[in-house]
């Protein structure tokens, strides 16, 4: 365990590790996502109330799921940055913040598209929607602050403080559908209870959530590799790597 922790301190080690990991993540992610989406979009039964329009759930829920967990992952990495000053943790935060923002936007957008036929409106100032919008703003703030500070070390720590402060929003999003009377339905998956929909619906949904997680993992690795190459451009191993790639 501690050995892995020490190895994670070396960007070079991570770069090689990511190279080996990425094909599997991509392969598994694409397979799961395709299976989940095709099953969900083409074969899962219709909803008795919403007809076919509910099928956007197979995109909406995975992206909303990821949007929140990416922030939690960023918060963990931010804590690691502050406590152990690990470079890689900051690389992770900086690399995935834009991805998280895009996923949040996707969740809001698909939610709006879904809201139009079912609620009769694109947007409503409801607790869940508003708190997701705040999450999007928080992502923007993290990206903006990271870009504004040129010094790598203090940028890492400043962003980490901001990410940790923003964590207060996550429980608000999570429980907004239970604390307040809202239009948005409660959580689709709970660890302790059986899902309220039939297996033909929730199994493909679960597959697409897992698939998106894996694809996110692949994309995060890719972006982190790029960030590492930029930051370590003066080191010998990067030079050798680039030269080897060119020949």
């Amino acid at each position: 365990m501690w050995q892995l922790f020490h190895k994670l301190g070396s960007p070079k080690w991570f770069f090689g590790m990511a190279n080996r990991l990425m094909p599997w993540l991509l392969l598994g992610g694409v397979a799961l996502l395709f299976a989940g989406l095709i099953w969900g979009l083409a074969f899962a039964p219709q909803d008795y109330l919403q007809g076919n329009s509910y099928r956007i759930i197979f995109i909406h829920v995975p992206s909303a799921f990821l949007a929140q967990s990416v922030y939690i992952m960023m918060a963990v990495a931010a804590a690691v940055t502050l406590v152990w000053r690990m470079k890689l943790a900051d690389v992770f935060v900086k690399s995935v913040a834009p991805v998280g923002a895009v996923l949040t936007f996707l969740a809001l957008f698909t939610g709006a598209v879904w809201g139009k036929p079912t609620w009769g409106t694109w947007w409503i100032w409801d607790a869940r929607l508003t708190s997701m919008l705040i999450l999007l703003f928080l992502y923007f703030g993290v990206i903006a602050l990271g870009a504004a500070i040129s010094d790598e070390k203090s940028s890492a720590r400043a962003v980490a403080v901001l990410v940790l402060v923003g964590v207060v929003n996550i429980p608000i999003i999570k429980y907004s559908v239970e604390w307040w009377n809202t239009l948005h339905q409660p959580a689709t998956f709970k660890l302790t209870e059986k899902p309220s929909m039939p297996a033909e619906m929730w199994v493909p949904l679960l597959l697409s959530v897992l698939g998106l997680y894996l694809i996110f993992g692949w994309f995060a690795c890719l972006r982190m590799q790029t960030e590492i190459l930029i930051r370590e451009r003066r080191t010998r191993w990067v030079k050798e790597l680039v030269l080897a790639g060119r020949s």
Binding site: L82, I134, A144, A148, S154, V161, L162, L164, V165, V168
Partner: protein, 241 residues
Amino acid sequence: MTSDTRAGWRPVTESVGSVRAMKALFLRDLKAAFRQRQDLLNPLLFFIMVVTLFPLGVSPEVSFLQQAGSGILWVAALLSVLLSLDHLFRHDYDDGTLEQLVLQPQPLFLLVLAKVAAHWVLTGLPLVLLAPILGIMVHLDGNSIGVLCLTLLIGTPVLSLIGAIGAALTLGLRSAGVLLSLLIIPLYIPVLIFGTGTVAAAGEGAPVSGYVALMSAFLVLAVTLAPFASAAALRISLSNA
């Protein structure tokens, strides 16, 4: 230096307790601010002017203003606090006082708390005192004005405390003002929602004690946690310079 002289050695400032240091810093900030009176007045003038924009820009009708008044006042107060935040650490940062504060033996978060308290007395409190007059101008009834002032009284310290984190993070950066708003506004939204929600509930004759309790919970949470984040952010910003 022998070991027993070292044991007898104390830094001079250690004899100053944390509470006394906080009080001294608080009074110093007030004194410094009163020497620059115009700076004190500006956020208040901004507050009044923003409130004026709404009747002129949207609708001067009594029914609209009664409904939107508390929200307008809250948004204007939020914006003027946001505008004043830039001054919170800026002067001390520019002349090096801030570095001395960081080096003090007293815990930095307590000193930050004292500075934020001074900031609130200079911006938040005058806003609360001005609110009744503007409340009358937007045709709020007496009960709503009372509740509005209460929510501002509880809410503006929260705004100052959260804002201090952003001010500390953006210290010494170019275009710090816009960035500061970008970072802080998302964190202000919950305070705004509950602040205006309280006044709306009062307008409908509903009990407000639950709302007020929740806002007080925000305040307690902010007082206990925000100074730590601000102190950490200050150290980062100073190590950057």
